[in-house]
């Protein structure tokens, strides 16, 4: 869109005032600096990228964030906060707020099992400190350079290794509202230094801000989050089951999760297992496998692997863990699979097994310096892939997997896809993530896979009304909420109008703000 003279002068005034407030070194309008914010920080090779922001700012304090928001309102400019790991849509906001320099660990409270963090704190800084205290924190599909606030608080934490117990790992938030005022949720809202959502008489409004960095309207900027930490107990276990069908593996995971046997039970299909096995080697095997996966016609598990693996993460007293291991063996047998022995795992998927143990049994994801870089290997694989997320009941996901494999193979001539399933909330449902292979260097292929992902999502919407297609990198994600939800879009829009009358909170696809004759912002959806 052409930039108006009014916009340029408002932007220039904002730049000057921001530089005076934050210091010149924390504000940039350099196109080269701005261009590095055109993409999200996440391993989504096909994530769309935009024009980039007009200004980038790096606040160091909450007061800085408040000042940025007040200025955005004054000059009618949109804002978008990011920190490492937030899968943000294309960054076309006027002012992009890079939160990574707000990186204080405010509090580690082992007594009540939570930490209070600013958005710039990364996993790799936090985990060693927690281990010293005998604790761990939920980790998921992201590298250790990412931010727990970005991944667990802002994204509502649906994708991590404690989701079998409880998905939302956030106990409280501090938010700079889009009028510049400050809000704390739960007990912290009453001035307490104890952060808990369980505050009598105070409504639980965490969710309003938890998805703010995805495709829904930004309702506020998270500046602190209280996040659960989990004690490392005297014993731990990680039984790994092998199953010849997806349905059996999912049933196993659901049963052990519903029986409260572990923190998390997760299913990996053979493609993802083989892929991980070869990334960790970091060898040419990996590239050979990926190439093979993209080109060969095969539908059976590779090199004698099981169709699906299901592992379950336990912590507890020794007797409890021993008992749970036996129960897992029994459940696996009853379902028609088996818990694999060390010898078999060592002979078939040694690297994958080692990495699972490191992360989910020893809770020490930083233990092996180079191998922890699995995610940057992922980045390096040419079919780094787009992702499609589906949440639903396990029965529906089993039907979906079967239909996908047939539909994709028939329609797109694609091989079986890598995917995993995580149980959430005591096994009340699960999250199925497909990782679509894409040659990131091939523009045609990138477009094809992007289109395929969109078509997959539409197809699921049409054929599986009870499955929720999660996330979304485009305006379309929220459009659907506005047009199809039972009251949710309307409510969110009304809340937004009340909390953010100028609509300075960035929403992809919205037109640029322009002040009317009275100086009020006018925007069109």
């Amino acid at each position: 869109m052409a930039k108006s003279a009014s916009f340029e002068s408002r932007k220039a005034r904002a730049f000057k005032e921001l530089a005076a407030c934050l210091g010149e070194e924390n504000v940039s309008e350099n196109p080269a600096v701005r261009s590095s914010y055109r993409w999200s920080w996440g391993f989504v090779a096909v994530a769309p990228y935009g024009k980039g922001p007009e200004l980038v700012v790096m606040p160091r304090t909450v007061e800085h964030v408040q000042e940025i928001v007040r200025l955005a309102n004054k000059e009618k400019l949109t804002v978008l906060p990011i920190c490492a790991g937030s899968l943000t849509p294309s960054f076309e906001a006027d002012i992009l707020i890079d939160m990574m320099k707000m990186d204080r660990i405010i509090k580690i409270d082992p007594e009540s099992s939570y930490v209070v963090l600013e958005p710039g704190v990364t996993y790799n800084r936090l985990i060693p400190l927690l281990r010293k205290e005998g604790y761990t924190i939920a980790i998921g599909s992201f590298p250790p350079t990412f931010s727990p606030v970005g991944n667990l608080a802002v994204q509502q934490g649906f994708n991590h290794n404690f989701s079998g117990r409880v998905s939302n790992q956030t106990l409280g938030l501090e938010i700079v509202m889009l009028d510049g005022s400050l809000l704390r949720t739960g007990t912290a809202s009453m001035g307490s230094d104890y952060w808990s959502p369980q505050a009598g008489g105070v409504p639980d409004i965490r969710g309003l801000f938890a998805t703010s960095l995805q495709a829904t309207p930004l309702m506020g900027i998270v500046t602190k989050a209280a996040i659960r930490i989990w004690p490392l107990m005297e014993a731990s276990g990680l039984p790994i089951g092998g199953f010849d069908t997806f349905a059996k593996a999912v049933k196993f995971s659901k049963t052990v999760t519903q029986s409260c046997l572990g923190d998390q039970s997760m299913v990996w299909n053979w493609v993802l297992t083989a892929m991980t096995e070869s990334h960790i080697k970091g060898s040419k095997d990996h590239i050979d496998l990926l190439t093979h996966r993209m080109t060969a016609d095969y539908t059976e598990p590779y090199k004698g692997l099981y169709y699906c693996y299901a592992w379950t993460q336990f912590r507890g007293y020794k007797e409890q863990v021993d008992c749970n291991l036996k129960l897992c063996e029994r459940i696996a047998k009853e379902i028609g699979g088996k818990i694999l022995g060390n010898e078999e795992l060592g002979n078939t998927i040694p690297n994958c097994w080692k990495s699972w143990k490191r992360d989910y049994k020893d809770f020490d994801p930083l233990a092996e310096k180079r191998e922890k870089h699995m995610w940057s290997y992922m980045g390096g694989e040419r079919p780094g892939g787009g992702s499609a997320y589906f949440n639903g009941s396990t029965d529906d996901l089993i039907k979906l997997e079967d239909a996908f494999n047939r539909t994709l193979r028939d329609k797109y001539n694609q091989n079986p896809q890598p995917y995993y399933v995580r149980m959430f909330e005591g096994g009340t449902g699960a999250h199925l993530r497909y990782m679509l292979p894409v040659d990131a260097m091939d523009e045609y292929h990138r477009k094809r896979v992007t289109k395929m992902r969109e078509e997959m999502s539409s197809w699921v919407n049409d054929n599986f009304p009870n499955i929720h297609v999660a996330g979304g990198y485009k305006r379309g994600g929220y459009k659907k909420v506005e047009t199809h939800s039972i009251g949710m879009g309307s409510a969110l829009n009304r809340i937004r109008d009340a909390l953010d009358p100028n609509h300075v909170g960035f929403l992809p696809g919205e037109k640029r703000l322009e002040p009317d004759e009275e100086g009020k912002a006018v925007t069109a959806g």
């Binding site: 940039s28 080269a32 600096v33 055109r38 995610w375 940057s376 390096g380």
Partner: protein, 396 residues
Amino acid sequence: MATETFLDQWVTSLYTCLRCRECVTSNAEYKTVCPIQERYGFFSYSAGGMIAIARSLYDGHLNWGSEVASVLYTCTMCRACASQCGNIYYLTNEYFNVPYLVEKMREELVNRGKVPPPVRDYLKSVELYGNPYQKPRSKRAKWAEALGIPSYSGQEFLFYVGDVGSFDEIGMKIARAVSFLLNRNGVSMGILGNEEISDGNEVKALGESGLFEIIAEQNIQTFKKLGVKKIVTLSPHGYNSFKNEYGKKGGDFEVIHYTHLLMKLIEEKKVVLPELKTCVTYHDPCYLGRHNQEYEVPRKILKSIPGLELIEMGFSKEEAFCCGGGGGNFFTSMLESGVNSPSRIRVRQAKDTGAEVLAVACPLCAKMLYDAVKDEELDGKLKVKDIAEIILNKEV
């Protein structure tokens, strides 16, 4: 979309970097190891950010101009990013070397005449004077006056001093200490004196490949004319250039850094080591360490000194934090000074070890850190000394 440019060769790295930020983070300390990321903070000032800039240039979103130059010329080429990135293509593809990409992008800026004034001035000085200090060649060997260092005339080693050793006050002190030690212990060596010119390492890093060609050819001709077979360098920058670049241009010499020769003399018990009851921490120069994988020899030398206690900084060896002087920044000061300048951060890291001496093996690092000690007001609390100066334990 993409135009036919040199960036076509880099398309793998442009499209497979996922901006995971592993490149800026130390494995040992889980803190920022990239000096420009620590200095500026914006994502553009990192390997991932440089790749994002390259991709924006490649897809036509960004133009080659002064704004791009102002970011690219801050990179110190320290290769800390390369020691962190775990991308499989990095391990298998030379076009995943971000410092190399930055150098190539700088070349493009030079070709388009878009270099920042300090870079332009540096390159012009080297071209006109053979050194960046704009000093006449006749002053090149002034540092060696009264030391009795002979001109090179067929001795076993050519002692290549370089620009900083020849003209900078700190560099000259180190050059005197090294040459005194070598000379006193019977090493057969000579210097080029008025015939010496820049080694070209920084010229190449700044993207002036044409001038580098000329410098390299001139140096190779001079060395060959004089019958040089072995070169011992004062600076790791010259060492890097002679060892890794001159060979490709027909300059096939045996090149060593002075610490290698010193170690040999110590092993042969030719050097008398003083007893020093002191705590020392060692700063790895990037061009000796990450560029040439030499981490142990300087440490062995220090450990061989009786009484000396060597304490490691958290950021050391392949994870050493750069002093900020690499990639031409020593001369161009594109990184600017300030409390977050890499040299001041490095000095604070050294101070945190409790060491009294910050040992170096590079005249550029020495100068950067010496100035930073002053800026940090640590005079008298932390001394910056070259390894040769520590061994000598006195001014030459």
